[in-house]
Symmetry: C2
Subunit: 416 residues, 2 copies
C-alpha cells in the first residue's frame, strides 16, 4: 500500500510533464482505456455493491452503481472535456511599461489539485479529466464504499496516460479511505495547491476548520425565491415548482420561499394547490410547506420550527415566509442564505435592480429558476463543483477556475 | 472599549452603504480630514514614540515616525487611489444562452476586509483607501506600538466618511492589540470576507495555521536570480547589485544567486569586486557572500550554512550557488523558492522560454531586477500587498484583487 504522502509527492512531481503534453490526445486515450476496461470496472463495482447492499439506502445504491451505459457516459464526458478550449496560457493582460518592461499576466495550472468526494464513482473520471485538461495533477480521495470501483477507474485512466507517454502518477487515488487521510490532504502544505471538498456539510465544515492548504468550499445551498408584489403569478408557480421539485437533492434547489405580503392572500392558496393537490393528482411527491406565522394565517401547513429557515432540506420540503417588500426580502436573505443562488420574481425593474445589487450570492436571478446554477447551464461546458465562497472562484467552477496566473516580465537589463 | 466582534459587526453592517455611495468624493473628504487632523495625529504619534524610544531600534523608530510631510504623503496617496478606475461593476463576461437567459459575471466587493499589519502607521490610511475604493468595509489591526497614531488616523478617516454622509463604522480599528485579537479576526467566520496579514513570517504562519476565514498570504520572498551561460555579464552585475542592495529589507529583494558553472570562473570574481570592494570604496554597505562549495573554490567568502539557501535575509547578505544549467536552476528554485519573484539573465531565447514556463512563481523575470514586483511598477496604480499564494490573487494585489464577482442571471420565466 502506498502512503497518502507518497501518492501526493508522486503526483506533484509528475505535474510539470503536462506543461508540454498533448493533453487532448491523452484524454482521448483515457476515454478509450475506460471503455476497454469496462469489464474490470463493472466487476469491481459489483464487489463494492455486494459489500453494502444490505446496509445502504436504495438511492445511495443507485448513486454507487455503474453500468455499461454509465461507463460510456463517463468516456463521453472525458471527450467533451477534451473538446473544450485549453484554459492554460491565456494572456489575461499585457502591458508595456515606460521603462520598457513587458509584463504579461498568463493563466497557468495550479499544480496539484485534490478532490475529496463521496459515493458517485463517475466523479472519479470527471474530476480527473477536468484536472488534467487544466494542466494539473490530480489526487482523488473517494468514499470507502466506492473504493474498488474508483481504483479500477483510476487504473484505466493511468493506462491511458501511460499509453500517451505521460506518467500514470498524474492521477492518484488515496488508498486510505479513513478520516485520517482527509485530514492529511487538508494539511499537506507545499504539496496540495488546491483542495476541493465535494460532499455534505460535515465535510465542508471540517475543511474550513482544518485546512491549511488552499481550499474551496462548495455546494451548500439554502436558495431563496422571493415573489415580489408585481410578479407574474402564473410564471411564479412554474418557477417555484421547478426550483423545488425538479431535483430536490441538489444544492441549487429552492429551500425557502418569501412572498410579498400584499399578494400572499391571493398567491399562497394557489401555491398550496400547485405543490400538493395538483402533484398528488399526477402521482408526484407532494411538497410539505413549513409556514411562518403570517403564512399559516392564510393557508394550512406545518408551522415552521426555529431552524426551518436555515436548513438545506434537500427534500420535498419548502419553508414559506411573508415579507413586507424587497428590502425585507434582501434583509432576510442576508441573514439566512448560504450565498449560493437566490432569485426575485418581479415585473418591477427597480426592485430587480435593487435585489441583484444587494443580494450577496454567487448567482442572483431575476425571473428564472435557481436550478440553472450549473457549469453546463452557464455555458462553461463542465463543472468541478459550485463555490459558495468569494475567494478565487464563485459559483460554478469550470476549467478556468482550476487555473491560477503568473506574471512573466521581460526586460533588457532594467533596474529599479 | 469596543470589543473586536462589535467593531467587525458594525463594519459588516455598514458595508452595503458603499454600494450607492460616491466613493471618490468620500476619499477626497478623507484626504482633507487627514490634513486637517495633522496636529492630533502628530501629537498621538509623539506619544507612541515616547513610549518605545528607549527599547526600539532606530530603523523601527523611523518606520513608526510621522511628520507633516508623511501625513501630506498619506493624503496624496488617498487622492491617487480616488483617481484610479472603479473596480466594482465591471462586466467580466456576458453570455446569452439558447434558452434566453442572459448571464453576466460582474465584479463586486468582497464585503469586509481585515488587514493585520505592523508598525508603519501610513499603512492605516493606504489600506483604508484601497478597501473603500474597492467597495469594502475595512477593519484594521495595527501594532501595539503604533496604536495611538493609528487611532488618530482612523478618527480622521471616520470624520471624512461622516462628512460625506457615510457611516464612520466603514473603517474600524481593533482596540485590542494583543495576539488574542489577531486570532479573533482569523476565526471570525461569516463576518470577515478576506483577511490580509502583512508582516513577518510568524504572522503569516499563524494565519495559515489558524485562519478559518479566507486569507491571502503575502510577502515572504526568497527571490532567485539565475545567471545563464549566455548572459550579458555587465548587465548581470547591474541587475544583481540592484536586486540585492537597492532596498534589502523588502520582499522582492534578491536573496539567492545561481550561476552557470561554465561562466562562474569569469563572473564570480567580478561579482565579488562589485558587491564588496567597489561598494566599500563608495562608502556603501558591502554584501556578505555565502558560498556553496563550488563557488567557494573560486572566490573567498563565508561558507554557506545549511539554511542559507532557504533564508529571507532581508539584509546585505547573498547566498551564491553554482548550477549546471537552466534545468538545474529550475530544480533548485522549485525546491527553495517561496514563489514570489525569480529571474533568469540570459541571451538564449530557449532558456528564457523554459525558465518562464517551468518556474512556478508569482513573477518570473527575464533580464530584469526582481525589485519590480510591486503594484505601482506593474501599472496597477497601488498595492495592498504581494500575494505568494495561488488562490484568488498572485503577485501584487491592486483594487481588482479586492473584489470578487457574482453572476446576475436575467430571465423571463425560464425553468429547467
Amino acid at each position: 500500500m502506498q502512503t497518502t504522502k507518497a501518492i501526493l509527492e508522486a503526483a506533484k512531481q509528475a505535474a510539470p510533464a503536462l506543461a508540454s503534453a498533448e493533453k487532448d490526445k491523452a484524454l482521448e486515450a483515457i476515454a478509450s482505456s475506460l471503455l476497454a476496461s469496462k469489464e474490470d470496472i463493472l466487476r469491481e463495482n459489483r464487489a463494492d455493491i455486494d459489500a453494502v447492499r444490505d446496509t445502504m439506502s436504495q438511492s445511495m445504491l443507485d448513486r454507487l452503481t455503474l453500468t455499461e451505459d454509465r461507463i460510456a457516459g463517463m468516456a463521453q464526458g472525458i471527450r467533451e472535456v477534451a473538446a473544450l478550449p485549453d484554459p492554460v496560457g491565456r494572456v489575461l493582460s499585457r502591458t508595456e511599461r515606460p521603462n520598457g518592461l513587458v509584463i504579461e499576466k498568463v493563466s497557468v495550472p495550479m499544480g496539484l489539485i485534490c478532490i475529496i468526494y463521496e459515493s458517485r464513482p463517475n466523479v472519479t473520471s470527471d474530476a480527473a479529466a477536468l484536472g488534467l485538461k487544466s494542466g494539473n495533477a490530480v489526487v482523488l480521495r473517494g468514499g470507502k464504499e466506492a473504493y474498488r470501483s474508483n481504483a479500477a477507474i483510476v487504473r484505466a485512466i493511468r493506462a491511458g496516460l501511460e499509453a500517451s507517454g505521460l506518467p500514470g502518477a498524474l492521477v492518484g487515488l488515496v488508498e486510505d479511505t479513513s478520516r485520517a487521510s482527509a485530514r492529511e490532504l487538508m494539511e499537506a502544505e507545499g504539496l496540495v495547491d488546491l483542495l476541493i471538498p465535494r460532499g455534505g456539510a460535515g465535510l465542508i465544515r471540517s475543511c474550513v476548520e482544518n485546512a491549511k492548504v488552499p481550499c474551496i468550499q462548495t455546494g451548500t445551498g439554502i436558495c431563496h425565491i422571493y415573489v415580489d408584489e408585481s410578479a407574474d403569478l402564473d410564471k411564479a408557480l412554474d418557477i417555484i415548482e421547478n426550483a423545488k421539485t425538479s431535483r430536490p437533492s441538489v444544492c441549487n434547489a429552492e429551500e425557502v420561499l418569501l412572498v410579498h405580503a400584499a399578494i400572499a392572500p391571493a398567491f399562497l392558496p394557489r401555491l398550496r394547490t400547485r405543490l400538493t393537490e395538483d402533484r398528488a393528482a399526477k402521482g408526484l411527491p407532494e411538497v410539505e410547506l413549513r409556514l411562518d406565522r403570517a403564512a399559516a394565517a392564510i393557508i394550512p401547513g406545518t408551522p415552521a420550527g426555529e431552524r426551518d429557515f436555515d436548513t438545506e432540506f434537500l427534500d420535498y420540503i419548502l419553508a414559506v415566509g411573508i415579507v413586507d417588500g424587497v428590502d425585507a426580502a434582501i434583509t432576510h436573505i442576508a441573514r439566512h442564505s448560504t450565498g449560493h443562488s437566490d432569485a426575485i420574481l418581479t415585473r418591477d425593474g427597480a426592485a430587480a435592480e435593487k435585489f441583484t445589487r444587494l443580494v450577496d450570492s454567487a448567482a442572483v436571478y431575476v425571473n428564472a429558476s435557481t436550478r440553472f446554477t450549473d457549469g453546463g447551464e452557464f455555458g462553461l461546458g463542465c463543472e468541478m463543483g459550485i463555490s459558495t465562497q468569494k475567494l478565487h472562484a464563485r459559483g460554478p467552477m469550470g476549467l478556468q477556475e482550476l487555473n491560477t496566473y503568473k506574471y512573466i516580465v521581460r526586460g533588457s537589463g532594467q533596474i529599479r
